[in-house]
């Protein structure tokens, strides 16, 4: 039918445009993600050629596969339980009238409506209260509680369509209630149960929040692992993993679609799914029963901060099995440790956090006599100001904020923080999106320190940073590498780990330690007070202090370690790269202290700077 105004045409056109736009909006990120998984560079947004190396990295990533394995086990078991319980709940709700039925029905919605973070928190509180150790069981319990609700709702919806007369017909034909359930009700609502189970499975597989709260030392899942990788720096490895996940999901979808079109599918899917889940459950129970607890070590650390290959060697050498779980910052570590429900034997806090933990009596004294390689440590690092006795920590690595710049685009000398105020680099300066870094830098230029907590100097620092602001391209901490590589910016304050990594791959870059001094951090090995495998933890510490191992660590992480013997064993290029860090004048360095209430003032000044 023709319309006599052009609205008809317009609508059709707009509709099409809008449709395609929304499709693009929804799906464009996915091809981009896939394309960059084949990037030869480690930058996520900077194309340097085709390569499959990130797939190799992903396949070789042991922690990743542990995560996949844990995720699958947890998903399978929790799906099985949630499906059985959820179906039972739905049947009870639809078939029986009992006291509190309405209440129960509404309670079922709660895990769906409640923000997951509150849910996770309350579960955590419960687990701690009933002294349930955090681990597989607690994560599975958490997943079951919320996926149960979804299963129950889906099955309930299916049951609402269920014709009660089918049930009566079955009873009438001589089947008792159980037989009726088995032969009539369950088969008819099977599609609901299957979709509920599939839903529960995916929910469990990609749950992050409540897993974060309830996971313990040995139950790190894939999402937790991926998130920790993100914090550690987004690399194409993540793209590769994601691409693989997308492929698996697509395959599962296609398989599901194919099965659904076949007549026998439901029974088959039910059987297969149930069978697999049951098998996994049995395997899990058996493996838990068989695992020799004495020979385990639960490490809680940043993802990848102990190189996989070194952990593997340690396991081979000692027969100790390492469970590695991740935190993403010191505060997370502190909150976990102070809850006391987690079974950690070795943690890696930074300097200031060690002080806090000692104050809170969270740490055990380390038996330094048992460490044969203790003597290899640089003495300047063994009794630092945050623990002058040196009883509670062993230094692991250190780092600092320095100046990363492109030698081809700048004029020497670049050896002072002052260059960040140089008009010549207007619009080419990148600053970290981090208030402590920015204000710390300004304070240092003014001859003071943030930790002095001087409000007058804060005003001066703000003025200084304001003066700098017109020169600044952007405040950004996450994509510093890419921005410098694309030559959008020429120079930026950056952390030594990332800075050295970029210099290693791209010789035009240089990482400098400005002469005014730089803020530094020291990451340490610590043992929680109630660690159950303290001796195993000490063995790993000692292992990491061995010169050959320390050298491998440094090579892999590009973080210097305060080890007097190791540098000599480094390959020449790595040695050269780390040289400025190894020869740092500790007097120029300043450990980042706590700011206390002053933090709020700095925060206000930071907001002021960023908003105007």
């Amino acid at each position: 039918m023709a319309r006599n105004n052009d609205l008809g045409l317009g609508t059709g056109l707009w509709l099409r445009v809008a449709t395609w736009l929304s499709v693009a909006f929804l799906f464009l990120p996915i091809p981009i993600l896939i394309i960059f998984s084949f990037n030869a560079s480690r930058q996520v947004t900077h194309w340097e050629g085709f390569s499959l190396k990130w797939y190799a990295v992903a396949f070789a990533d042991r922690a990743l596969w542990t995560g996949v394995q844990n995720s699958l086990i947890i998903a399978a078991v929790s799906t099985l339980l949630a499906t059985v319980l959820g179906t039972a709940a739905a049947l009870a709700l639809s078939k029986y009238t009992f006291r509190g039925r309405v209440l129960f029905q509404n309670l079922i919605y709660i895990p769906i409506i409640l923000p997951e973070i509150i849910f996770g928190l309350s579960l955590l509180a419960l687990f701690i209260l009933i002294r349930m150790p955090l681990g597989f069981t607690s994560v599975i319990c958490a997943h079951v509680t919320f996926s149960l609700s979804f299963v129950a709702l889906i099955v309930l919806a299916r049951l609402h369509q269920f014709d009660r007369r089918l049930e009566e017909a079955s009873l009438d034909l001589g089947a008792n209630r159980l037989q009726t359930l088995r032969y009539v009700i369950l088969p008819v609502i099977a599609p609901g149960i299957v979709s509920g189970a599939m839903f529960a499975f995916t929910l469990s597989l990609d749950d992050f929040v409540s897993t974060l709260f309830t996971a313990g030392a040995n139950s790190t899942t894939l999402p937790l692992r991926i998130y920790s990788l993100v914090k550690y720096g987004v690399t194409p490895e993540l793209n590769a993993i994601s691409t693989l996940l997308i492929l698996v999901t697509l395959a599962a979808l296609l398989a599901g679609h194919y099965l659904q079109r076949r007549a026998v599918s439901q029974r088959l899917v039910l059987g297969l799914g149930g069978g697999t889940a049951a098998l996994v459950a049995v395997l899990l129970i058996v493996s838990i029963a068989l695992a020799d607890d004495r020979h385990t070590l639960n490490v809680y650390n940043y993802a990848g901060y102990f190189p996989d290959s070194i952990l593997a060697d340690f396991e081979k050498e000692t027969g100790i099995r390492i469970n590695y779980s991740y935190f993403n910052d010191n505060e997370e570590l502190l909150s976990r440790l102070s809850l006391g429900a987690c079974d950690y034997d070795l943690v890696v806090p930074s300097d200031y956090m060690v002080r806090t933990m000692i104050k809170l009596k969270l740490l055990a004294r380390i038996n330094r006599e048992s460490l044969a390689n203790y003597a290899n440590l640089d003495e300047r690092f063994t009794r630092m100001e945050f623990d002058p006795t040196g009883e509670y920590y062993i230094p692991y690595t250190y780092g600092c904020t320095g100046l990363l710049y492109n030698r081809e685009l700048t004029q020497p000398p670049v050896d002072s923080w002052r260059v960040l105020w140089d008009e010549r680099y207007k619009g080419r300066i990148l600053m970290l999106d981090d208030m402590r870094e920015c204000f710390g830098l300004a304070f240092r230029l003014l001859g003071g320190s943030l930790t002095d907590r001087d409000p007058r100097m804060l005003q001066d620092a703000l003025a200084l940073l304001r003066k700098q602001k017109p020169l600044v391209l952007r405040y950004d901490s996450n994509t510093v590498d890419s921005i410098l590589l694309s030559r959008e910016a020429y120079l930026a304050p950056y952390w030594s780990g990332g800075g050295l990594r970029l210099t290693k791959d791209h010789p035009e870059f240089e990482f400098a330690i400005p002469r005014e001094g730089v803020p530094m951090f020291v990451d340490t090995f610590c043992i929680p007070r109630d660690a159950r495998h303290k001796e195993n933890a000490e063995r790993l510490i000692d292992f990491m202090l061995r010169p050959d191992i320390a050298a491998r660590c440094m090579e892999e992480l590009l973080y210097p370690m305060p080890n007097t013997q190791a540098p000599a064993l480094l390959p020449e290029d790595i040695h050269a790269l780390l040289q400025p860090m190894l020869t740092l004048d500790l007097k120029k360095l300043q450990l980042v202290g706590e700011l206390g209430e002053f933090n709020k003032d700095v925060d206000r000044a930071w907001t002021e700077l960023r908003s105007r």
Partner: protein, 359 residues
Amino acid sequence: MLELINVTRKYGDVVAVNDVSLTVAKGEFFCLLGSSGCGKTTILRMVAGFEKRTSGQIILNGRDMGDDPPYCRDVNTVFQNYALFPHMTVFENVAYGLRIRKCNTAEIGTRVMEALGQVRLSGFEERRPDQLSGGQQQRVALARALVNRPSILLLDEPLSALDKKIAEQTRLELTELQRRVGITFIYVTHNQTEALALADRVAVMHNGVIEQCGPPGEIYEHPKTRFVADFIGSMNFLDGQVTTATDRGCRLRLAERWDVEIDKASPVAPGNRVLYCLRPEQLRLSLLPARDFENSVPGVLRRKVFEGDATLYLLELANGQMVTVSQNNYIARLARDFYELNQEYLLLWSRTSGEIIRA
């Protein structure tokens, strides 16, 4: 064989079934007839065991079934919407009861095929219910119940979802089938034609009470209550009072105006207020006066309704009441165009016609 004694079922204040007693003999085709909501389904469901009695007894083959669950009762039901299991084939549907009873496979095979043969569905074993027409589904439901050879088969309006033609055909098949298998049928319907055509005996229900129970002819010709008279077929009701009564007949004064004579015995006494019930086909229109075996009342023709085989004439009596007369068009072909609207005619009927019901 099946006996209901003073059975009552209440839902809160609603009395769905009120003190019902009835007996169904072995091999009988028994019909429960009544308008919507009168409690027919409730009776059936109590017999099947889906519904509990509030009071009374239900006795099957000499044993009180008490609160036995449905699966312990030797009765099977054909549901109004058939309630076939959607996930099973026709064969599996029919075999369900036997499989539950753990019959051996060979016996199941032969009995299912036999039952499907009885309902003329051989060859449909592998279909699923949604691949069948309504009539075929209905027959599967029948076979599924029959194959268990229950003492009693309960059918709740099994034909109501079928279109008229198929329903009529199935109705015929149903009687034949019942004769052949010899199983007692209790058949619920609100369709009087169905009930009269099928049943050996009909129980007419109203408001949870059985108003009258008997063979179809008796129900049709000798309704005992106004409800039954009204519900079965169409009926003209004339108010009257008995003036004289003998054991061979009586005289009535209708609408306090017209005296008529009834030549058959009725249990009435002079002075009784009664309803005189006349079926439209028992009445006749005429310009000529009544013959000596007839009664007559004058009326004005107000409407004519052509119905194909017959024509209905609606006459208004002097007291304002409308009376319907039905005349066979074949017999009175010439008369059809003869009667004119708004003319006065005589209503005539035989003195042996009509029923007297105490008002």
